[in-house]
Amino acid sequence: MRHPKSLLFIALALCAGASFFTGGINPYYYDILITIGINIILAVSLNLVTGYTGQFSLGHAGFMAVGAYSSAWITLTFGFVLGTSLPAAGSVYLLALFGGGLAAAAAGLLVGVPSLRLRGDYLAIVTLGFSEIIKGVIQNAEPLGAQRGLGGMVQHTNFFWTYAIVALSIYGILTLVHSTYGSGFLAVRDDEIAAESMGINTTKYKVLAFVIGAFMAGVAGGLYAHFKQFIHPEGFNFLKSVDIVVMVILGGMGSTAGVCLAAVILTILPEFLRTVSDYTWLPGPVRDLAENRMILYSLLLIILMLTRPQGLFGKLHFIRSKKS
């Protein structure tokens, strides 16, 4: 990347330009388009934690939930403090996205701290546990709608904001990991002990990865809440986390382009499979399988690990094998 900043501005301008033409799109395709954007942000942010820093997390949906609920709470409570005009409500929305991100970052800090002492399998379970605890807290919080879910947000999220944030996220992650400072993330992933003996503060990098990743997931949650206009604790369950993990693994850990591509493919795939189940000329079991995307995802995970553990587009060997 020779001119990353100018690329970013070009991308932002393209988003603004394209957003003039999204009005006429079929709502179904528009929904998919926005979902793709949100999934890209989620996958890219998890990629910083798992792909670049080597910390396996199964709780990314938890951070998304924190961001979605806090930003929804902000717009529901303060939505019209600055007036009811679109610019006023819109700026509250942007502040709410930021606030949701900050709340999720705080949660990320909470998870990052135990991660100092844990690795691999344990960390996966602890992050899973944290996201279950977050879900449990929301399910018991009356002001957040508890089991009923939370609705009534204004649909602020549109094509421009979604893809502007996508562009900013990709730009942010790429410039971060390609900077001198950011090579610390890669060092922690490749060999933690060696990195530590070279004077890298591995603890700081691990926590930082969690905090930045969680912040972006929180913003994605805010986008989601203000697009769907209704959020429910079960929407941020373990399976949502697995969806994001599959995107990162399929794309190839540590490859931002691959992960983006995987996010696009895996958002469209279930929709495509849904249409496959309408083709009556296919044998019944094939159609049934197509309807159940999680069976395919799980097989995909197993086969990918057996044949190409670095992911479809990954070049790097993440965490080298250590034989004790």
């Binding site: 546990g129 944290f130 799980s298 197993i302 690990m305 553990p309 965490i319 250590k322």
Partner: protein, 308 residues
């Protein structure tokens, strides 16, 4: 006091189930140093193995619920689960043994998701009623016990706790007093040295998976005696809690897993009885996080130094 005792009994029988599942986690971790994420789903397979074999096996022993028939169902489920565990290890984990641990972990998550969703596909997603293999009812306590006579102890609870004790004793004998058990212990100390001493590592690892999975299968049947409603996702929660139990007891340590299972079961029963049932699941994770933060080696485990 009576209520406390009652919760303790309920907790003990639930804890026995967790203990049986936790053994599989801890044994596999002992020999392979990895967490078999799919282990909770083996427990689900055990329940469904019982669901499908029970009508046939019960008709062999006279048709109605009977102890002999229940024992047959238990053995059948254990055998089927052992086979499933061995097959999973052979296909998904053995080829990855030299790979980084993260690869194996992801493969294990894949297996777990496959069993859950494949189960929903084949068995149906709705909960099913487990056939009655033992006539479960409350035991009449003698009136001479005074206040204690008001305790409710069911035949199912007695069978669960009794079977768990028997299975644990059998496992202890296998691990401590047989050649295979010695090989397992050798392997968990040092795989390379064990293979140099003539231990067939592959066979021992298969055997470990078989035993651990059989225990989970037994847990699947025992739990269905008490709560006769089974579904393909029942393994997720039970598996996670059993994992927490294994970590609490010190992962890799077999008596620790049993102890951890009982502690988790009793804690859960106390929270349900005295605090609020909705805090049951978050509590277990809070226990896990506290253990990992303050005593990562668990109650009975030994701290391991990291080797460079």
């Amino acid at each position: 006091m009576i209520e406390f005792l009652q919760q303790l009994i309920n907790g003990l029988s639930q804890g026995s189930i967790y203990a049986l599942i936790a053994l599989g986690y801890t044994m596999v971790f002992g020999v392979l140093r990895f967490i078999n994420f799919a282990h909770g789903d083996i427990y689900m397979l055990g329940a469904f193995a019982g669901f499908y074999t029970a009508p046939k096996l019960l008709s062999l022993t006279g048709g109605g619920p009977s102890y002999a028939g229940a024992a047959l169902v238990l053995v059948a489920a254990m055998a089927l689960c052992a086979a499933a565990g061995v097959i999973i290890e052979r296909i998904c984990y053995r080829p990855l043994r030299a790979q980084p641990r993260l690869t194996v972990l992801i493969a294990a998550i894949g297996v777990s998701l496959f069993l859950e969703n494949g189960g929903q596909f084949i068995f149906g997603a709705d909960p099913q009623a487990f056939p009655e293999i033992i006539a479960d009812s409350a035991i009449e306590l003698p009136a001479s016990w005074g206040d204690f006579a008001s305790l409710t102890i069911t035949i199912g609870q007695v069978i669960v706790i009794g079977s768990t004790v028997i299975l644990l004793a059998a496992l202890r004998t296998i691990v401590l007093h047989t050649r295979t058990g010695m090989a397992m212990r050798a392997l968990s100390l040092n795989p390379l040295a064990a293979s140099l001493m003539g231990v067939n590592n592959d066979a021992v690892i298969s055997f470990t998976f078989a035993i651990g999975s059989a225990m989970a299968g037994a847990a699947g049947i025992l739990t269905s005696i008490q709560q006769p409603s089974i579904d393909p996702l029942m393994g997720i929660n039970a598996g996670l809690k059993a994992f927490v139990a294994a970590v609490l007891g010190g992962i890799g340590n077999i008596p620790g897993a049993a102890l951890g299972g009982v502690i988790i079961g009793v804690l859960e029963a106390l929270v349900v009885g005295y605090v609020n049932p909705t805090y049951r699941d978050p509590l277990v994770f809070a226990v896990l996080i506290l253990v990992l933060l303050f005593k990562p080696s668990g109650l009975l485990g030994k701290a391991e130094r990291e080797k460079v």
